[in-house]
Amino acid sequence: MGESGSGKSTVLRAISGLNPDWSGRITVLGRQQGPKREKAFYKNVQMVFQDPYASLHPRHTVDRVLNEPLDIHGIGDKEERIRAILDDVGLGPSFRFRYPHQLSGGQRQRVAIARALILEPRILLLDEPTSALDVSVQAEILNLLNRLKRERRLTYILVSHDLAVIAHMCERLAVMNAGSIVEEMSVDQLRRAAPEKDYTRQLLQASLGYDRETVRHFTRYD
């Protein structure tokens, strides 16, 4: 969780290997990672991006989108896997040969989730997966993600600027500001409105809605 420019997406991109320029230590499934990732890494770690309008190739069908990771990793039984994953994300076989422009925002995000899960990874990195969607569609996607997490025993790292989404999806959270973690806490602690740091408390207050009096006491942390 963090505001824009806090570095939350950058952390996620460093973990995923999309951002090679970092220092420190990243350990995934017991293996220490270097700046470059090997192919096996991506079988275990996949990512879903914020904007489903930008993360799918406009001239590739859903079928081609889902085939690509299978080809890269040389996996057989493609037919079976594609059919199963489309069912699992609630799209069904009729969507298989459609292009992205024939899908709604929520359907596109389901395709992006299917693409990430078709390799049966263990960790899913979610970068604001619902912030481009209407609230009613957001509810559907969050429910889907929660069901898949339960059924497939997945680990999620979810990046969001929305505390309510994080409270709904996660057990623990880290609040970031200006490139570092300000506070780590459990979601229970968040629900009790008991953050320790003033920065987090202010974020929480702002997330609860507009109140003229509250705003009067806001301070700047940049």
Binding site: E3, D134, V135, S136, A139, N146, H161, A164, D211
Partner: protein, 294 residues
């Protein structure tokens, strides 16, 4: 400033039976289908999902819908003026002066190759014919009013040199400087972080109430509208499905409004699964009014 005390007066804005259609190659899209409402010098929110027609409603009032869009209405009246009867030339004396509009994203709405001060001054001089010196003075005052710390520096900066939050405040300054009677704000704070969002809203809130303006606040954010506005209009598929006091939004009766509210995750009230909206055909025709907004 609540709608209540003003009900006896003539409304600031009245819209009756507004229809907007877009003729595309293959079909006719009815973006707005018979919207009617009236408002005084108060904050009225229009909420709805993408495609509900809320933005087009706001733009229709200011005659900003371009062909192939086609706007029809029985009546659009602003402060006793029949807006539909004005020529384009006459309309320009209203738009930007008596009714202004704050757009969603400063990145696309500010001129990237013109210094900020010049843009703010332009808005003022165009409508008042003030001298350069007066306009400069006024622009600096206005930048200060929207809590820009170093107005002189910002005055001489280009839009890419300021942050998103500051860009938004600059746009608000530009829209307030002609001292309009009505501001139409289309998602004015949606691109901002929550704390900055609240600060920008506080600035608008103060200015609107100090100067006794009306504000039509278009947003997709139900919680924000409930806490910021006086009254709320909920739109679905090009129509108004419900109107109520903002403080009463959480007691809304229309199943669409209730469904939208229920689908929001809440920090204080955890649920295992979020209720999902099941859209119904009759939502396209029925309407519930809790007050005299119509």
């Amino acid at each position: 400033m609540t709608g209540n005390s003003l009900l006896s007066e003539k409304p600031l804005l009245e819209v009756e039976d507004l229809h907007v259609r877009f003729h595309t190659r293959t079909r006719i899209v009815e973006a707005v289908r018979g919207v009617s409402f009236s408002m005084g010098r108060e904050k009225v929110g229009i909420v709805g999902e993408s495609g509900s027609g809320k933005t087009i409603t706001g733009r229709s009032i200011l005659r900003l819908v371009r062909p192939p869009g086609e706007v029809r209405a029985k009546r659009i009246e602003f402060d006793g003026i029949d807006l539909l009867g004005l020529s384009d030339q006459e309309f320009r004396r209203i738009r930007g002066k008596r009714i202004t509009m704050v757009m969603q994203d400063p990145k696309y709405s500010l001129n990237p190759v013109m210094k900020i001060g010049k843009q703010v001054m332009e808005a003022y001089r165009l409508h008042t014919g003030a001298s350069r010196r007066q306009a400069r003075q006024k622009a600096l005052e206005m930048l200060e009013a929207v809590r820009i710390r170093d107005p002189e520096r910002v005055f001489n900066a280009y839009p890419h040199e300021v942050s998103g939050g500051m860009g938004q405040r600059i746009m608000i300054a530009m829209m307030l400087i002609p001292e309009p009677d009505l501001i139409i704000a289309d998602e004015p704070t949606s691109a901002l972080d929550v704390t900055v969002q609240m600060q920008v809203l506080a600035i608008m809130d103060d200015l609107v109430s100090q100067r006794g303006m009306g504000m039509l606040f278009i947003s997709h954010d139900l919680n924000l509208v409930a806490s910021f506005c006086d009254r709320v209009i909920i739109m679905y598929a090009g129509r108004i499905v419900e109107t109520c006091r903002a403080s009463e939004l959480h007691n809304a009766r229309h199943p669409y409004t209730r469904g939208l509210l229920a689908s929001l995750p809440r920090i204080d009230a955890p649920v295992a699964e979020l209720p999902v909206l099941k859209r119904r055909e009759e939502w396209k025709t029925d309407r519930i009014d809790h007050d005299l907004i119509r």
